[in-house]
Amino acid sequence: MENNNLISYLLLIPLAGGILLLFVEKSKESLIRYLGFIFSIIAFVISLFIYIAYDINKAGFQLIDKFTWIENLHISYHVGIDGISLLLILLTTFLTPLTLLSSWKAITKKVKEFTFFMLMLEVGMLGVFVSLDMFLFYVFWEAMLIPMYFIIGIWGGDQRIYASVKFFLYTMFGSLLMLVAIIWLAVYASSSLGHFSTDLIELYGIGPVVQFEIQRWMFLAFALSFAIKVPLFPLHTWLPDAHVQAPTAGSVILAGVLLKMGTYGLLRFCLPLFPQSAVYFAPYISILAVIGIIYGALVAMVQKDMKKLVAYSSVAHLGFVVLGIFALTQESIQGAVIQMVNHGLSTGALFLLVGILYERTHTREISEYGGIAKVVPVFAVFLMIASLSSMGLPGLNGFVGEFLILLGAFESPVLNSWWYTVFAASGVIFAAVYLLWMYQRVIFGEVKNPKMNSLTDMNKREILILSSIFIFIFWIGVYPGTFLNVSAKSTETIIQQVIGGAHVGEEHKLTIEKTGKDILFLE
């Protein structure tokens, strides 16, 4: 395993950019915009180097960087990536410059603060995806709330205060319970390791042997935190508020990356650390995921506000991802990983397009529009592609993920029922209904609202942003292999960890029952 510091550079670049921005004079807005954009582009270039340096044929974590941070608690700065985190890092560094570019005209007040918070947000998100120490992970996970809170609260819509506080408290509630679980696990680890440890790789050996009765609670504490972030039905109520009130850039990052932190957490922590409980709870969580798919789609259908419609479609799409994760087959988890990327791209694109319309007309009501195909033909084409991608049309990216998830869920030994697939598949149909219906009402027909006649079509900057997203939408749709291969080894490892861990757990339980004692009890 070659040891270089690429990942640390990746974290440092946006951080350095943010700190540098603090010293730039407030009035030099375009300089600030360019600086922010350049730093996020450098981060993207570094992530490409990481992609080149990463060996997709090896399992396990690579590009590891580690040094001690808090010595007497054995907490270290320990970062490294596997295929799953690599894809999400690429998604993050890809979307961040695009969102900065998209806010070129949309954000006019407090540009300096905005760019600063966006860069800090990038550090936080990347940190979450690369941390291999639970404590470090937690620090990034929580620290990331602060910039997002400000982005929604300062640049958001009319209800921004309500939305931002709700977002903060909701997430904080879940993650603090996770903190107790992390501490409990680290204390438990000290009985077998001889020292307090939050190192993920060490804990991978500890988590599965925790007594099932206790493991169940720890799993729930972790899962609650991640489920709120995903968000899994019925914990999704913060999402429509946050999405609708956030500025376009905030919504794109929220949908594109932040929600993925929840599903990433489930994959990285819940499954390998608590395999027995994961298997035990898989059917229940899958039921919630399926409810989320159908509920999200049905609620999206009746929305009058375009942004809300896209927000609820996220609940449905993330339901697919969670179903894929808890079907616990390799196909389904591969599908879930690629679906995370897909959702980031297509929902990101949809939010950007809604933002582009909103910038011009200052309304998101579907009924205000109609027949704008004649006025803004380019926009109509772009919205068509994004909608088709989001509903999972074969040939575009959405299809690949959903197909793999449904396939995996169908043959899943853990779920052991095809009803999940049947209901989830109906979600695909609903998705077509709400997206096409929205498209039809906004784009086709006669121009009812005279204001719409003066709409200007997308400019070069906007075309550039969306075209770069569309490249990947087509790429994944036509040749998903490029991306599936990256995560193949890693998802395989996770499956093995779950199967092996559940097995180890069973054996351990038996030995405990025989000797009749346990190391530590939860009071």
């Binding site: 620090v139 620290a143 506080v165 904080m172 319970l177 009890f521 009071e523």
Partner: protein, 481 residues
């Protein structure tokens, strides 16, 4: 008496402070405008005492005929007290003029109170604790009412005095019972007889009364009634002092007495009592703070909640718990002093601008102060990567290690509640909350460079402790083995 030169060095922080008090007294008596000189003199005294406490941190010894301990965690407490009061003095430089209490004796009282705190932290004898406590408390009563022309300050002072005297009664009664059962006031002797005394009901009652007496000083439920009124009535910098150094002194006394009882693990007979007051303080403090409209009262209730988090460390009854408390106190001193410091900067003449609504839109009126206060609020709320988070983290670890997972869960839930009122300040400052732009003329923020410097020092510590918590917790733990 001084046995040798080494003992002299070990008690240097105390000597510096004692000499400093005499010098300041002379300055106050003979210099014409002592108000101008004294702040800087006392800052120098505090900083040099802080420096020597850190320099001597490794020379653990017992001095003054087994009355005082030095070195180790005692010196860490010295450091917290002296650095905290140095920041208070810096804040007071311009503030007292505005507050209408531009008196030199303010700094004198500050120095004497710190001497009292130091005696408490180093005490090896129950009398020493009592002596230190009374020295500190008397100065605190006077400091609360330093502006004798102001009715509210007088009320705060009187209330503090009456309730404080009441609490001291508990304490003295507790000491009497401890002496009666163990036939000694020396903490070492009491702890050596502890195994025999454990089952003695009078001895337990003595410790309980002792704890109750100190619950008052650390502002823990149910002895918190004075906190909001006194914080509101006394000046902002003094309230900052009460909530940080005062609280640290209370905890230091509890730690030096009860700490010895933790020698044998599992001897923590007061775990149920401590756990209950921890829960009540956290929950009561956090919930009541939501309803406050005055920022000083809000910080007062938050101070009650923080006392609760620290008591979790006591309830854990382990060295890790104590290390957690000391770390927490260090972090808390900087973040809470910073918060009170900003309150004192924004406060107008005649105690205006203390309502929460005075903070609305602060971000555009004074971006620097708003950003600093936001950091203090996030740190107080326990959000990484700021210092406050690590304090809570260590205390919760200690709780889980001592099989008090439920207490940690209550702790995190009350943190979620407290996030709400801390965030409200951030909302007001940045999100243009309440909707109304205030146009009172008194809202102009006066420029105080000394006060601003103090607040910036606080924020630097809050961030540095957040980046490198390991070295501090390592230092503290190394003395607790």
């Amino acid at each position: 008496m001084l046995n040798n030169i080494e003992e002299f060095y070990n008690m240097l922080p105390l000597i510096i402070l004692g000499a400093g008090i005499l010098i300041s007294l002379c300055i106050e008596m003979f210099a014409k405008d002592s108000e101008k000189i004294l702040p800087w003199v006392s800052i120098i005294i505090f900083l040099s005492a802080a420096f020597y406490s850190l320099a001597n941190v490794n020379s653990v010894s017992v001095i003054m005929q087994n009355m005082l301990a030095t070195g180790g965690i005692v010196n860490i407490f010295y450091f917290i007290f002296t650095l905290g009061t140095a920041i208070v003095s810096l804040l007071a430089v311009d503030y007292l003029k505005k507050y209408g209490a531009y008196y030199g004796e303010f700094y004198l009282l500050l120095q004497i109170s710190v001497l009292g705190m130091m005696l408490m932290a180093g005490a090896k004898d129950l009398f020493m604790i009592f002596l230190g406590l009374e020295i500190m408390s008397l100065c605190f009563y006077a400091l609360a009412g330093i502006n004798r022309k102001r009715l509210k300050a007088n009320e705060a002072s009187l209330k503090y005095f009456l309730l404080g005297a009441f609490a001291t009664g508990f304490l003295v009664y507790g000491i009497a019972l401890l002496y009666g059962t163990s036939h000694s006031t020396s903490i070492d002797i009491i702890s050596s007889r502890f195994p025999d005394l454990r089952s003695n009901l009078l001895f337990d009652a003595g410790i309980l009364l002792f704890l109750i007496g100190f619950s008052f000083k650390i502002a823990a439920f149910p002895f918190h009634m004075w906190v909001p009124d006194v914080y509101e009535g006394s000046s902002s910098v003094v309230a900052g002092l009460f909530s940080t150094a005062g609280k640290a002194a209370g905890f230091s006394a509890i730690i030096v007495t009860l700490g010895v009882l933790f020698n044998g693990a599992g001897n923590n007979i007061f775990e149920p009592y401590l756990a209950v007051i921890a829960v009540l303080s956290m929950v009561y403090g956090s919930i009541t703070a939501i309803a406050q409209t005055n920022i000083k009262r809000m910080l007062a209730y938050s101070s009650i909640a923080h006392a609760g988090y620290m008591i979790i460390g006591l309830a854990a009854g382990s060295y890790n718990g104590i290390a957690g408390i000391i770390f927490y106190l260090t972090a808390y001193t900087f973040m809470n002093l910073g918060a009170f410091g900003i309150v004192s900067l924004i406060e107008g003449r005649e105690e205006t601008n203390l309502e929460l609504k005075s903070y609305s839109d602060l971000a555009s009126r004074s971006p620097l102060l708003a950003a600093l206060l936001a950091i203090f609020m996030f740190s107080l709320a326990g959000i990484p990567p700021f210092a406050g988070f690590f304090g809570k983290y260590y205390v919760f670890i200690a709780a889980v290690q001592s099989h008090l997972t439920w207490l940690a869960i209550v702790g995190v839930l009350s943190s979620v509640i407290s996030v709400y009122f801390y965030l409200r300040i951030v909302v007001l400052m940045y999100f243009g909350g309440a909707g109304s732009k205030i146009s009172e003329p008194g809202l102009k923020i006066e420029n105080h460079s000394a006060g601003l410097l103090a607040v910036i020092i606080c924020v630097l510590f809050v961030i540095l402790i957040g980046i490198a918590p390991g070295s501090i917790i390592g230092l503290i733990s190394s003395f607790l083995r």
